[in-house]
């Protein structure tokens, strides 16, 4: 094999989801035995690009060559053709919880199969035990995958990819759930395999890791390559941040309505975000304030938000209001399809379930005229576009569904609103409307807590940014922070 020729060659890759152009004609190459870091902000197209590479998502245009296999993409699935040349470790482990570690590791792997595809359990267990020993992981090969810690599951997923014997491996945020010791182990294995000529595509939000493990860097922004195959030694953190951010400085339209002197609406004292933890988190929200909770997925920001919203009981510590009683809190959950709206019910019923107490009279019967007026008002306030208030919410566009969820959260006239990923999967127009809504709510003295992974969103909204990592509050930005402050903070460098 000619090792001076790239092992991965992608030309003119583009991908459109609905109205969003995730990739706009990207070229990408990986050499033999190279660790190639792919950088960019959330939504820049990193995960989409590697997904088109592994065939998890089919590219709309262009050509992809991996080792000797070449495919011309036209939006049709091609994952099966390149299956033997590439492994893709996704952000969240895709393990079978009810299968053992060994079964997960060697699922559909020919090395443990005998004649007629019969799986040799002995061979599988031996190989799995050897592998676990090599990685210095102290678990039995017969343990169920569902019993393992998040870090071990992540390692297992990586091991599974490595033992398939493919020449190219994608690691998409592999260290998100790993402890420092586990990270060391991973980096050692990556370096060892690199020496054997295996290539890696490495996505991470931690620039320090990139400097440690990567040889080459490609930076994406808004679905385009802004820096192609740069040697990591030629780059600095500053330079990378500038490239990721781009020319356009996000219009900072955030307004500060914080009533700093007023008593806080909601206060968390020594709240434990994980079941077993020594750390306690202190947090408070003022009337008129928009606070963003930022930090890596699983770091505790979602847990804190759900505890503030009263949906999750703190493992320790206490959440209290300004006096004895808790304020009314409206919640916009993180995944609107899973826990946001009730698809088979209409807009009216969906909004009304957020405020059944407010809308019902004596004996608990709903006052229909009050319901119509209140829901109609909320639908106008949140700009819901529907053919009528009776239209099933599953038939609405993503943006309108999210507006319905906001209207529901506001139905009980809350004093605090907790919104997780408030604009995920929402088009630009609806996004702006939702931002305007949140600012408007703050101007009326509500406290707004936003959980977000998007720097743009935070920069446009938040008067205060609190970063939560490993169950602790690790930093706070307030007032006149810049976009750069924010990006560095969220990439885990500052």
């Amino acid at each position: 094999m000619d090792i001076t020729r790239p092992i991965v060659e992608m030309r003119n890759i583009s991908k459109t989801f609905g109205s969003t152009k995730a990739l706009k004609g990207v070229d990408f190459t990986v050499m033999h035995g190279e660790v190639h870091a792919l950088l960019g902000r959330n939504g820049a197209g990193k995960s989409t690009l590697v997904s088109t590479m592994s065939g998890l998502v089919a590219s709309d245009t262009g050509t992809i060559r991996i080792a000797k296999t070449e495919v011309t993409a036209n939006g049709q699935p091609y994952a099966a053709k390149i299956r033997d040349d590439i492994a893709h470790v996704q952000q969240t482990p895709q393990l079978f919880n009810l299968l053992t570690v060994a079964e997960n590791l060697f699922l559909e792997n020919a090395v443990v199969q005998k004649k007629f595809g019969i799986v040799s359990h002995k061979r599988m267990l031996d190989k799995a035990s050897a592998l676990l020993q090599k990685w210095n992981i102290n678990i039995r090969a017969e343990a169920l995958a569902g019993e393992l810690s998040a870090g071990t599951r992540q390692l297992l997923e990586i091991m599974k990819a490595l033992c398939r014997g493919v020449p190219v491996i994608i690691l998409d945020e592999p260290t998100a759930a790993l402890s420092n010791a586990e990270k060391r182990m991973l980096f050692e294995q990556v370096k060892a395999l690199k020496a054997l000529g295996i290539s890696f595509i490495y996505i991470s939000h931690h620039l320090d890791e990139v400097f440690e493990v990567a040889d080459t860097v490609t930076i994406l922004r808004d679905g385009l390559v802004v820096k192609e195959r740069e040697k990591v030694s030629n780059l600095t953190v500053e330079l990378i941040a500038d490239l990721m951010m781009g020319e356009k400085t996000a219009r900072s339209v955030r307004v500060d309505h914080t009533q700093a002197e007023a008593p806080p609406l909601l206060r968390a004292k020594g709240v434990g975000l994980y079941p077993v933890t020594d750390a306690g988190v202190d947090f408070h929200i003022q009337p008129g304030e928009i606070v963003a909770l930022a930090g890596p997925v699983g770091g505790g920001k979602e847990a804190l938000a759900m505890m503030l919203a009263g949906q999750l009981t703190p493992y320790k510590g206490k959440i209290s209001g300004s006096n004895e009683t808790l304020p009314t809190i409206g919640l916009v959950p993180t995944d609107r399809h899973a826990s946001g709206y009730v698809g088979i019910l209409g807009v009216r019923e969906n909004v009304a379930i957020g405020g059944l107490e407010l809308l019902s009279g004596r004996f608990g019967f709903i006052k229909l005229d009050k319901e119509a007026a209140h829901v109609g008002g909320l639908a106008r306030q949140t700009n819901v576009i529907a053919s009528s208030l009776e239209q099933a919410v599953s038939q609405l566009s993503g943006g309108n569904q999210q507006k319905v969820v906001f209207a529901r959260a506001l139905c009980q006239n809350p004093q605090v609103i907790v919104a997780l990923s408030p604009t995920r999967g929402v088009d630009v127009g609806a996004k702006e409307q939702l931002y305007a809504l949140l600012r408007d709510l703050a101007s009326r003295g509500l406290g707004v807590v936003v959980v977000s992974d998007e720097e743009d969103e935070i920069a446009q909204l938040a008067n205060r940014v609190v970063t939560v990592f490993e169950g602790k509050i690790t930093g706070e930005l307030r007032g006149d922070y810049t976009m750069k402050d924010l990006i560095l903070r969220m990439e885990g460098v500052a």
Partner: protein, 347 residues
């Protein structure tokens, strides 16, 4: 904005069509799908069986379906939240039997408590409610799948009936216990009035009460209901209690009509109740179904049974054809609801 909300800005040409479509979807979602079929059946019945369209026979049908009707309403409480309760059938048999053995003297097969007759109602409904509470506990607290927990309880209650009655039916258990199922008021059986009252009251609760709204929300998307601040666990738990109470009431009516607590009482009724609910457009996946539709399902089953009997169809064929009709009707309701709303539902 306001024009977009109400949809009045549509061109006049389309208005007629969309009004028809709107009527069609309101007709289906309101639960009226089966009424034309029911009317057709009654018409056919009046022609083929001369005894069918008489006042006495129609009242007779209503009396016969009132037990099934109450059981189906009870079942609908738990089906609306996407659960099910097979033990309702056991409650129909067990609750009145336990009441009966508490009332009658030991010589008639009782425990010898010889409680006053009105206590029979308390025992029957109290038992039914407690069984419902137990079901709720098993589902909400223990986290059992309601299919298996209520199946077990159904079998247990069937055995329980035989244990408390020593395997013998109890005759004439007492006037207060049998009043609801046997007496007449204004020329109508009290059981029909009870069914009508319960259907209207609970129909209003389903549609206009916050509790009903919570049922639909939980059935449609439990997590969304939780996020909206509904106390989901309490609603699920209470739905099982209401289901049990209604099954207990159905059992009391049945015992009253027969003037005895029979050991096989209620057997097979849960299947008819599921059939009636599904025919009436109640989605077994939860979140969908109306009282108007449910009642149509109950009536349809009653009319079919009655017609086939009057037409002197051999009894083996009655059972088989009821089954066939249930399948056809279920297909019809599902297709109608899918076509009118464009939302796929699990029946």
């Amino acid at each position: 904005m306001s024009t977009a909300m109400t949809g009045q800005a549509k061109p006049g040409q389309e208005a007629g069509r969309s009004r028809l479509a709107a009527f069609g979807s309101a007709f289906v979602s309101g639960g009226y799908t089966m009424y034309p079929v029911l009317a057709l059946l009654v018409l056919v019945g009046a022609i083929v069986a001369p005894n069918f369209a008489t006042g006495i026979n129609l009242i007779n049908i209503l009396e016969q379906v009132s037990v099934l009707g109450l059981t189906t309403i009870g079942l609908t409480f738990v089906v609306l939240i996407g659960r099910l309760d097979l033990s309702l059938e056991g409650i129909v048999g067990f609750a009145p039997m336990l009441a009966a053995v508490c009332l009658v003297p030991a010589t008639a097969g009782g425990f010898g408590f010889e409680l006053p007759s009105w206590m029979g109602l308390v025992v029957a409904l109290g038992t039914a409610g407690l069984i419902g509470y137990f079901n709720g506990f098993m589902v909400v607290r223990v986290g059992l799948n309601p299919f298996i927990s209520t199946l077990g309880l159904l079998v247990l209650l069937r055995g329980g009936v035989l244990i408390v009655s020593n395997g013998r039916s109890i005759y004439s258990p007492g006037p207060a216990l049998t009043y609801l199922g046997s007496a007449k008021l204004f020329g109508l059986p009290v059981s029909v009035l009870v069914f009508a009252f319960v259907a209207i009251a609970i129909g209003l609760v389903f549609k206009y009460h916050r509790y009903g709204r919570a049922l639909y929300a939980i059935g449609g998307n439990e997590d969304a209901a939780r996020a909206a601040g509904i106390n989901v666990d309490r609603v699920i738990w209470s739905a099982f209690v209401y289901a049990g109470l209604l099954a207990g009431l159905a059992g009391v009516l049945m015992t009253g009509r027969l003037d005895s607590a029979v050991t096989t009482q209620g057997q097979g009724i849960i299947f008819s109740a599921f059939a009636a609910a599904v025919i009436g457009g109640v989605s077994l996946g939860g979140g969908r179904g109306t009282m108007v539709g449910l009642v149509s399902g109950v009536l349809l089953i009653g009319v079919i049974n009655n017609l086939l009997t009057l037409a002197q169809v051999p009894s083996f064929y009655v059972q088989a054809s009821t089954g066939a009709v249930i399948i056809v009707a279920a297909v019809l309701t599902t297709v109608a609801s899918r076509r009118s709303s464009g939302v796929r539902t699990r029946t």
